[in-house]
């Protein structure tokens, strides 16, 4: 399907020279090279499906938000028929940014430079002084609209691609869809954003954040060690002994797909023992989901889960639910269970997009969610918990955002850019017994396979051209 397009960089290196498939290594140069960055914008961000937001951000006809698909600015707008459209936010007249607001409501997006006007679906409405033919004589009016992307909605999440005839979003998700369904399609009411996304800039290459999102589990033990020292995972010194070892929290299964999507499915057994005092093997999925429902779900909402999912998915949700992972190229999800001081557990649901802003800069966007049907006080608690742990002031994620700039900076050294990053910790055991889902699966402590799958797909896209 793809045609080989090996590109030679200015110094004679090819993209395939940067990656060693046998030893699972990637040259550090990949984290900073400006030539690669240009190619990534064309071959990845202008080709794959890109996550842009959630339909509940623009609930009314005429609502819009402005977003980015890689290096391209777009308008995400709802039209009079309630359809969502994604259009390039560049005026076809003389290339002014058409919509300069972050969000709003309008049925006419008018370019302030010379006044050309467009519908929420990107169609050209008209230019001023029609009788003097300001819109010109060469290009027909129906071709003067904003360039339109192909849009797909999934569980209210808005994705778009410039690859108009390419694979469907479902094909792109592949085996990951089975697992994503347990996160994004839990209730009939569906998810809703609790507000607009947080946004902040980090002086780092987008891939430092994104390859970590491909389920790097090892970093949590050291980079997030404080969580076990004084944070939510700290042990009670009298009952459980001292120590900040987070490794018991890292057991479970990991799933990866050929399109670089990754899921860390973390075991709930320890938490269920804590909450019930019973052996989880003796509890049915329904019983387990009732004592420890997924984030945003109350015990009263559990019957709806039982109706919506098959036995395999219910088993997964009550045993090893996906809690952290990434969707290729630049998305991360966190649907995590956070222990509270009073012994209860509160969930946090968040999605991140890491928007490339040049070889040395990314924009971190963080959306916080709950189910529409989550009771208001629980929503409010989840919101606070999420803001305190994730995103801008997040006590977990501030260590991550402080790490990526260092990686990006040191990747420029004449010597350091030639050394390699290693993804050599491998699962060797396949899926655990009774694993219900598809995809490549590894059982036990976190490993590197998920991140390696991310780099493999990066390489595939970077050396392919339609």
């Amino acid at each position: 399907m793809h045609q080989h397009a090996e590109t030679t960089l200015r110094d004679g290196t090819t993209i395939s020279d940067l990656i060693n498939h046998e030893t699972r290594e990637v040259k550090v140069r990949a984290l900073s090279d400006p030539e690669l960055y240009e190619l990534e914008m064309e071959r990845i961000f202008a080709k794959t499906w890109i996550f842009l937001g959630h339909e509940t951000e623009i609930p009314n006809k005429g609502d819009f938000v402005t977003r980015d698909m890689g290096s391209d600015a777009v308008i995400v707008a709802r039209d009079r028929d309630n359809e969502i459209h994604v259009s390039l936010n560049v005026c076809p007249h003389r290339a002014m940014r058409v919509q300069t607001h972050d969000a709003g409501n309008t049925n006419v997006h008018m370019c302030i430079y010379h006044g050309w006007a467009f519908k929420p679906n990107g169609d050209f409405i008209g230019a001023p002084i029609e009788k003097e033919c300001m819109h010109g004589k060469m290009t027909p009016k129906d071709q003067l609209g904003l360039k339109k992307a192909r849009v797909a909605l999934y569980g209210g999440l808005i994705f778009a691609t410039w690859n108009i005839d390419g694979p469907s979003l479902e094909e792109f998700f592949g085996d990951a869809k089975y697992y994503f369904d347990t996160l994004f399609l839990r209730t009939k009411g569906g998810l809703e954003v609790l507000g607009p996304p947080q946004r902040f800039r980090i002086n780092a290459n987008w891939k430092t954040a994104c390859e970590q999102s491909a389920a790097d589990g090892f970093h949590t033990l050291t980079l997030h060690r404080w969580l076990g020292e004084v944070g939510p995972y700290a042990k009670k010194p009298d009952a459980e002994g001292k120590g900040a070892d987070l490794s018991p929290e890292m057991y479970g299964s990991e799933v990866w797909t050929d399109h670089g999507h990754a899921l860390r499915c973390i075991e709930l057994d320890r938490k269920i023992v804590r909450l019930t005092g019973k052996d989880p093997a003796e509890l049915t999925p329904a019983e387990k989901l009732t004592v420890l429902p997924p984030p945003g779900i109350t015990p009263a909402m559990v019957p709806e889960l039982l109706e919506r999912f098959d036995d395999g998915q219910l088993k997964l949700m009550s045993w090893r639910p996906p809690q952290v992972g990434g969707f290729f190229p630049n998305g991360l999800f966190e649907f995590i269970y956070l222990p509270q001081p009073d012994g209860t557990i509160i969930g946090a649901c968040a999605l991140h997009a890491y928007i490339p802003k040049g070889p040395d800069k990314l924009e971190f966007m963080n959306w916080i969610f709950a189910e529409k049907d989550t009771p208001p006080e629980l929503k409010a608690r989840m919101l606070r918990q999420s803001v305190q742990m994730l995103g801008t002031s997040g006590m977990v994620e501030m260590e991550d955002s402080d790490t990526w700039p260092h990686q990006t900076e040191v990747a420029k050294g004449a010597m350091s850019k030639t050394i390699t990053m290693k993804y050599q910790a491998l699962f060797e055991n396949g899926a655990p017994e009774g694993w219900p889902g598809p995809g490549h699966v590894g059982d036990g402590f976190t490993k590197d396979d998920t991140q390696w799958a991310w780099w493999k797909y990066w390489h595939e896209l970077m050396t392919s051209e339609k």
Binding site: G195, Q198, F200, W367, G394, E399
Partner: protein, 189 residues
Amino acid sequence: MEKNPLEPRPLPPSLRANRVPVGSPLYNDMVEFMYDEAELFDTLRLRDWIAMVAKDIEYTVPLRHTRATRDQDKSVVRTVQHMYDDYRSIMLRVMRVMDTRSAWGEDPPSRTKHMVSNIRVYRTDKEDEFKVHSYLLMTRNRFDHDKFDLIPCERHDVIRKTESGYQLARREVIIDQAVLGTPNLGIFL
């Protein structure tokens, strides 16, 4: 408009009629509170700062949105915010930095300057609580970077008079940037 249950309780208004004159003893107390607090932040004396914080504090940093002039009321977003803390989470932030050896996001610590200016003080309908409105320009420098992150913002505080001195009872920090130019808020504003 009806209150969104996800938003924090609103601050008392800054009524011009209730302005405390510049230079009056109460005004001077508030200025000294602001300066002392800035010094504690910038010299990493977070435990001493905690002693100046009321147990019922709400500490919030709304998002900013770029909106049309006629929609300026929508340019401050108080559902999802950059920071949404209570006393317990503030304590956790302080313990993280002071009691562990793994708060890497602030270890080594940022070098900061909290520059507080344009201080205006208002009486509120509670006798022991004062509204303090100020500008804050903060510089933040890390590692061997030659550049500073600049965080321009304004603070809307409620300072409460207690038997053991003044305490910070409420703070809302409204940042000028819609997209923050600093990699996290691992520091207090």
